[in-house]
C-alpha cells in the first residue's frame, strides 16, 4: 500500500510540497482538500509546504518547479483504487485534453520539465471516494480513508524515514 514511501522520503535540504486537489462541495471529491486542511491544523516541518486547488493548471508548473518533491493528494473514482489510500510515483506525460480547462498530473510535470527544466520527484496519494453528490459531507468510508491517510503522513513526517530535522 505504501511501498513508495521510501522513495518519497525526503533527503537533506529537499523542499516538499503537498498539494491537495478537489471540490469540497462534491462530497468525496474534496478528499484532497480535506487532507490539506487537516495538515494545516498541525505543526509540520519547515521544509514542507501545503497547497490546494480545485484542479491543476498551467501555472502549477511554475509552482512545483520550486520543489524537489511533490506529493499530490486526490480522490479517486477508479474501481481498483486501493483503500484506505495508496501512494505511487507520477511521471511526466504528454497528453491532450478536451476543453476541460484542467491539466493532468503528468501534464503539469511535462510542462514543468519543458518550461523550467525542473523534474521534481512526484507522487500521488490516492484516496478512494464513493459519493459525489452536491454536498459538503464526506461519505463515512471516505472519512475513514482520510483519517488514516492523515495519521500516516503525520507519523511519517515525524519518523526516521523523514531524514530532515523537524
Amino acid at each position: 500500500m505504501v511501498s513508495y514511501w521510501d522513495q518519497l522520503a525526503l533527503l537533506s535540504n529537499e523542499k516538499c510540497l503537498i498539494y491537495g486537489l478537489g471540490n469540497v462541495g462534491r462530497q468525496d471529491d474534496g478528499l484532497g482538500i480535506r487532507l490539506i486542511e487537516k495538515l494545516e491544523s498541525i505543526s509540520l516541518p519547515s521544509f514542507v509546504s501545503l497547497e490546494s486547488n480545485y484542479q491543476l493548471n498551467v501555472e502549477d508548473a511554475l509552482l512545483i518547479s520550486a520543489f524537489e518533491v511533490v506529493l499530490f493528494a486526490d480522490a479517486s473514482v477508479e474501481a481498483e483504487a486501493v483503500s484506505p489510500f495508496s501512494i505511487r510515483p507520477i511521471q511526466p506525460l504528454l497528453e491532450m485534453t478536451f476543453s476541460t480547462h484542467a491539466m493532468s498530473l503528468g501534464g503539469v510535470l511535462s510542462l514543468c520539465d519543458e518550461l523550467y527544466g525542473k523534474n521534481p520527484r512526484a507522487f500521488l496519494l490516492t484516496l478512494p471516494g464513493y459519493e459525489w453528490e452536491i454536498a459538503e459531507e464526506l461519505s463515512q468510508s471516505a472519512s475513514l480513508n482520510l483519517e488514516l491517510a492523515f495519521q500516516f503522513l503525520r507519523a511519517q513526517f515525524g519518523s526516521e524515514l523523514c531524514m530532515k530535522s523537524l
Partner: protein
Amino acid sequence: MSRKITIEPVTRVEGHGKVTIKFDENHRVIQTRLHIVEFRGFEKFVQGRPYWEAPVLVQRLCGICPVSHHLCAAKAMDVIVGTPSDQIPRTADKMRRLMHYGQVFQSHVLHFFHLASPDLLFGVDSDPIKRNIIGVIQDFPELAKKAVLMRKFGQEVIRITAGKKIHGTGAIPGGINKSLTYKERDQLIQEDSEFNADLMVQWAEEGLALFKGYHKKNKDFVDKFAAFPSNYMSLVRKDGALDLYHGVLRAVDHAGNKIFDQVDYQDYTNYLSEEIRSWTYMKFPFIKSVGSGNGWYRVGPLARLNTCDFIPTPIAQKEFEEYKAYTYGKPNGMSMHMHWARLIEVVHSAECIRELLKDPEIYQGELTRIGDRQVEGIGVIEAPRGTLFHHYRVNSDDLITMCNLIVSTTSNNEGMNRAVGWVADHHISGRKEIPEGLLNQVEVAIRAYDPCLSCATHAIGQMPLEVSLYDSHNQLLDRVVKNTNI
C-alpha cells in the same frame, strides 16, 4: 439506414458534454445535438442556508470561474440587504471590479494560450500530438512562459482581493470585507517583478497580435468556420460602454437592431424565458418578445462586442474600432472571431487592472452599506463565458428559499449546437466513416465558445472524449476515443 455519431466525454458525474449527429439513409446530416448535463442540483444545495453564506457557497459550483459565482451571488445579496450593486461604497465597487477583471484576465488567458493557440499555431488539422500546450512550449517557449505568468498575475489579483486563491470571502452582501493594501499592490506593479501590470498590457497586446496574424493568413477559415447569424445579449454600462461587472441588459439582433435596452436585470424574467426540450435536461433560454423559435441568443465575448458601443480603455478601444470595421459596424456572427473578441477583452481587463491598482480609493474608504432588507434579489455579471444570472428569495429567518441560476454555457447552448451542426454539415455529410480530423473540427467549434464543462468533480479516472458511430438500430459501427489518463 440512418446513423448516429456520438461524441461523449465519459465522466461519471455532471459537467460533461456529448454530441450526437444523425444521418438519413443517404448519409446526410439531419440532426445535431450537443448534450451538456447541466448543474441544476446546486440550487437545492443553497436552499435553507443563510443568505450571507451564498457568496462563499456558490464557489463550490465551479473550479474554473468561482470568482464569477462569488461576485454574482454577492450582487444578488446586495439587493437583499437593500443596497443595489450600483449603490455600494466606491471602495467596495472598485475592489470587486479588480477581483472580476483579474478573473476574466486569467480565464481568457488560459483559454487562448492553453486551449486555442495550439489550433492557431499548428493548424486545426494538425496532429494532436503536436497540437497542444506542450507543442506550443517546444516551438514557442517564450510565449508559453508569458502565458503562465499571465495566469499567475490574474490569480494574484484574485488572491489579494478575494482573500484566498480558492473559496475567497472578499465580497459580502452590501460591499467587501477589506480594502487593498499598498504592500499587496506592490508585487503587481514593481518594474523589476517577473510580472507587473504594464507587462500584462503589453503581453495581452502580443496575444492579440498573434491572433490577428493568424487571421490575416487564414481569412477563409477564420471567417467561414461555424459562422452564422444570431441574436446577442450582455450587460452594458448605461452609456453603452463595455462593462463586465455591472450595467443594464441589452440585446441586439443579427443586424444590430436593439431588441431591448436599458433593462434593469431585476426585471429579467419579463424579457427572458427558458425552454425545455425532451432530449436534454439543459434549458434553452430565449428572448420572450422574439419567441422560442428565433429568440435564442449568444453571450460571451462575441456578444459583448456586438452589443456595446465602445470600450472605455484606450488600447482596447482602438482594437475594438478595427474589429468593428471588419464587419462594417454590424454584429459579428463568426464563431472563430470569438477568439479575437476574447483577446480584446484580455487587453481591456489588463488596462482596467492597471488603472484600478493606481486608484487611491481602492486603498481606503467605506467597505459596506446596508439598507432596507428585501425578500428577493437578482445578481447579474458578465462572467468570462458570458452573462451569468443568480436569482434568490430569502425568508424572514434569513434563509434562502429559492435559487435559480442561468449560466453562460446554458445561454450559448443553441449557439454551440449550431456550431457543431455546421461542422457536421461540412465535414460528415456524405461520408460513411468517421472522417479523419472530425474530432478536431468538433473540438474547435465547441472550444470557440469556451464552455465550462468541468464544473463538476474532476477525480482521477475520467475519459474526456469519445466518438462512436451507430446505425439506425443503435449498433456500434465505429468508435474513436481520446483518453487522458494520468
